[in-house]
């Protein structure tokens, strides 16, 4: 037997974790120490290749890692302790699962001999996180640790990306074993996501596209996850076919908002032209989106006359909500490449002039119209001003969840992928501020703005302290209407205007709060002061809380009322009391 003391691959479990991070190219992780991860923190202390960002709450670590991942295309990494550390990760893990964000969470666990004993800070972490991860592992033997860590990175980043969790008991962190660098055999033989699309299906799809009279491309976050090549191919496909394109909330930026074929976002708060195009089309090409209920509206009236092509890497996304005619399972970049190749070889650009004329009529309805005011800042106007002020700058936007998020999606134009970080599937209030922290860590010299609401931002406000500690000049642009705006909007529309607990009483003074954290506070009330204040915010190289006081009762339109189809949208100019009552009249009387 060789002398193991000189084998460089002999090390403790804690050292293996740091080593594996380095071997996977990880340069930044987000975490919070505690009893069950102290050996790992000890290793982190003794090296300089991996920078650790100390958050103020584990949920912040998770969302920061998500923002990091979403803005770079690399996996985000979070490190938390056992018990409450792990349970606080449940929200970000679920968020990442819903939005297909590659996230690797390493959690400490009580020593193996105490597992199941209700030990201090013990919880069944793998049990709790099983339904909110793509996969998770409890490592009981230090000699399994390297394999599991490598597999974790592979599972998180391959196929449909998602969060994974590796639970490591403290005795395993202390124990010494053999490390090995990543290798192919580290992965379950049962896990082999399909990349290449079926050639017959691709031919069927091209035949449909080539003969379309009223086509639409509906793209989603899958295009962005697939990587820059998929984005390039999507743009080329739009160019080659001349088709109109819309996108989900998660897909914004894959096709540039300034592109001439862009219809705007679709769905519940999408544009009139995007939803009408979806409803009346004869061929729909869905790329990396999943026919979510915010997209489809009433499913039995969803795009009734169209043949549907669905490209998705996850077979369980196919025919889940909407029956499609040509499913193609595989990576969207790969399949878009094949479709383009066949299309260019065998088809001509279809003549769809009449369709574009129809779309122009829908566009002319100007569904994002709102009435500006000289006295009070309209939230839509605030977003537009922010967009104008950041045009041409190297900008990343995160959001919280609610009205401000929808306005941001409607009024901020994204030209590139990876610039827009939002909690789409789970709808996590409190996502945006820590996500901005993660984005700023990944892009220290860029302008990172969290478009926030006054209610959401308070859910993870403590991460301002993280931003100040690491000198991350994030800008928290709060559209402060003193309400949980989207909750109130639904109460107005569906619950007889009984505004049950949706008013933000006792709001903090955000300017003083910013100063208390060591950041900068800016408050603006008047439309005339807005542009100057935004310039000030951008020029400050420190974290800023920007308290933008906006019209309190403004609501988010256009809107597909629940239970309605895409062609039954409520447009802003129709959103008077009577029309609103009629649109929402259903099982319940409305005021």
């Amino acid at each position: 037997m060789s002398d193991k003391s000189h084998d460089p691959n002999q090390m403790t479990g804690a050292a293996m974790i740091v080593r594996a991070l380095i071997d996977h190219g990880v340069t930044d992780i987000f975490g919070y120490p505690g009893g069950a991860v102290l050996p790992i923190y000890d290793e982190i202390f003794q090296q300089s290749e991996v920078q650790h960002i100390l958050v103020r709450h584990e949920q912040g670590a998770g969302h920061a890692a998500e923002g990091y991942a979403r803005s770079t295309g690399k996996p985000g990494v979070a490190l938390v302790t056992s018990g409450p550390g792990a349970t606080n990760m449940v929200t970000p893990l679920t968020d990442a699962l819903m939005d297909s964000i590659p996230l690797v969470c390493i959690s400490g666990q009580v020593p193996t001999h105490l597992i199941g004993n209700d030990a201090f800070q013990e919880c069944d972490t793998v049990g709790i996180t099983r339904p909110c991860t793509k996969h998770n592992w409890l490592v009981r033997d230090v000699n399994d640790l390297a394999k599991v860590l490598h597999e974790a990175f592979y599972v998180a980043t391959s196929g449909r990306p998602g969060p994974v969790l590796v639970d490591v008991p403290k005795d395993v962190q202390f124990a010494t074993g053999t490390y090995h660098p990543p290798r192919k055999s580290d992965v379950h033989r049962s896990y082999a996501p399909r990349v290449k699309g079926d050639a017959t299906q691709i031919r069927k799809a091209v035949a449909l596209l080539a003969n379309a009279k009223r086509p639409v491309i509906y793209s989603g976050g899958g295009v962005i996850n697939s990587g820059p090549e998929a984005t390039r191919l999507l743009r080329e496909l739009v160019e080659v076919t001349g088709f109109p394109i819309t996108s989900t909330l998660m897909g914004l930026g894959a096709y540039p908002a300034s592109g001439k074929n862009w219809l705007g976002m679709l769905g519940m708060h999408g544009t009139y032209e995007a939803n009408m195009t979806m409803h009346d089309c004869d061929v729909m090409l869905c790329v990396g989106a999943r026919f979510d209920d915010r997209i489809t509206g009433r499913v039995d009236a969803f795009s009734p006359g169209s043949k549907k092509i669905h490209i998705d890497i996850d077979p369980s996304s196919i025919n889940k909500n909407i029956r499609v005619d040509v499913p193609i399972i595989g990576d969207c970049g790969n399949i878009l490449g094949d479709i383009l190749q066949v299309f260019k070889a065998e088809a001509k650009k279809p003549d769809i002039k009449a369709w574009w004329q129809q779309i122009a009529q829908w566009r002319a309805r100007n569904s994002l119209y709102y009435r500006k005011s000289n006295d009070v800042i309209l939230p839509q106007h605030a977003i537009q001003s922010l967009f104008e002020a950041t045009r041409g700058k190297d900008t990343y936007i995160t959001t919280e969840v609610g009205q401000h998020q929808m306005w941001a999606a409607q009024f901020f134009g994204f030209e590139e992928p990876h610039r827009w970080m939002t909690s789409g599937g789970l709808g996590t209030m409190g996502y945006g501020l820590p996500a901005a922290v993660g984005v700023q860590v990944a892009h220290p010299d860029s302008l990172v703005i969290d478009i926030a609401g006054d209610a959401s931002v308070q859910m993870t406000m403590q991460e301002m302290s993280t931003a100040v500690q690491y000198e991350l000049p994030i800008k928290i642009f709060i559209l402060n209407n003193q309400y949980m705006g989207m909750v109130r909007q639904w109460q107005q529309l569906l619950h007889g205007n009984r505004l049950s607990h949706s008013y933000s009483e006792a709001l903090p003074d955000f300017v003083k709060l910013a100063e208390a954290y060591g950041g900068v506070g800016i408050q603006v009330h008047k439309p005339g002061d807005l542009d100057g204040a935004i310039q000030e915010m951008i020029s400050v190289k420190r974290p800023v809380l920007f308290d933008c006081r906006v019209a309190a009762l403004e609501n988010c339109f256009p809107m597909i009322p629940s239970g309605k189809a895409h062609n039954e949208m409520l447009l802003p100019e129709q959103a008077n009391d009577e029309a609103t009552a009629k649109a929402f009249a259903g099982g319940k009387a409305l005021v």
Binding site: G127, V155, R298, P315, S316, G563, G586
Partner: protein
């Protein structure tokens, strides 16, 4: 249809339910059964019957047989959802192959005297159930067959003094020379 005031579209589904038997080949590792069961409970799918046992110990493979009900769309979802789990090798819908054999085993305890005892033995003979335990006032029968046959046998035992039943749930295998 009246839509209640809701943020969600509430749909009435009219497709009839079907019963399908799925064979699932998985890596036998800690938590794998919890993953499968959690998928069913988490997504609101039905489990009518579930059996699991390691079938290839050297390769650490287990075979799970699940009998489930749902609309054709839900059954398709269940298969895809199972198939995308990391430790799942293969999912085969035995009902769709139309070439599968399904069996389960039940142990049926019957307590009685006199004519009931004689009748229970007679029926056991007709159903090819074996007596695997006997006292002067009871029998335990072992019966193997498909689910309908076992249900029928249990129903017949009821008036004869049925005490309790223990069933394995359904195991299924395809006919012919090929494996799954």
């Amino acid at each position: 249809m009246n839509q209640p005031a809701s943020a969600y579209f509430i749909e009435e589904r009219h497709d009839p339910n079907e019963t399908h038997t799925l064979s699932v080949l998985v890596q036998n590792e800690p938590g794998v059964l919890a993953r499968v069961i959690g998928l069913f409970s988490g997504r609101g799918y039905n489990i009518e019957s579930l059996t699991v046992s390691e079938t290839e110990s050297q390769k650490h493979l287990s075979r799970i047989t699940i009998v489930t009900t749902g609309t054709p769309m839900v059954i398709e979802q269940i298969k895809h959802q199972l198939d995308r789990m990391i430790p799942v090798y293969r999912v085969v819908d035995m009902t769709l192959t139309r070439r599968s054999i399904e069996r389960e085993l039940a142990m049926v305890k019957v307590r009685g005297q006199g004519e009931h005892r004689v009748e229970a033995l007679r029926l056991a003979d007709a159903f090819r159930a074996r007596v695997i335990d006997a006292t002067t006032e009871s029998f335990v029968f072992e019966i193997t067959g498909n689910t309908d046959k076992i249900n029928q046998y249990i129903d017949l035992m009821r008036p004869l003094g049925l005490v309790e039943v223990s069933r394995t749930g359904v195991a299924a295998i395809g006919r012919g020379p090929e494996g799954m």
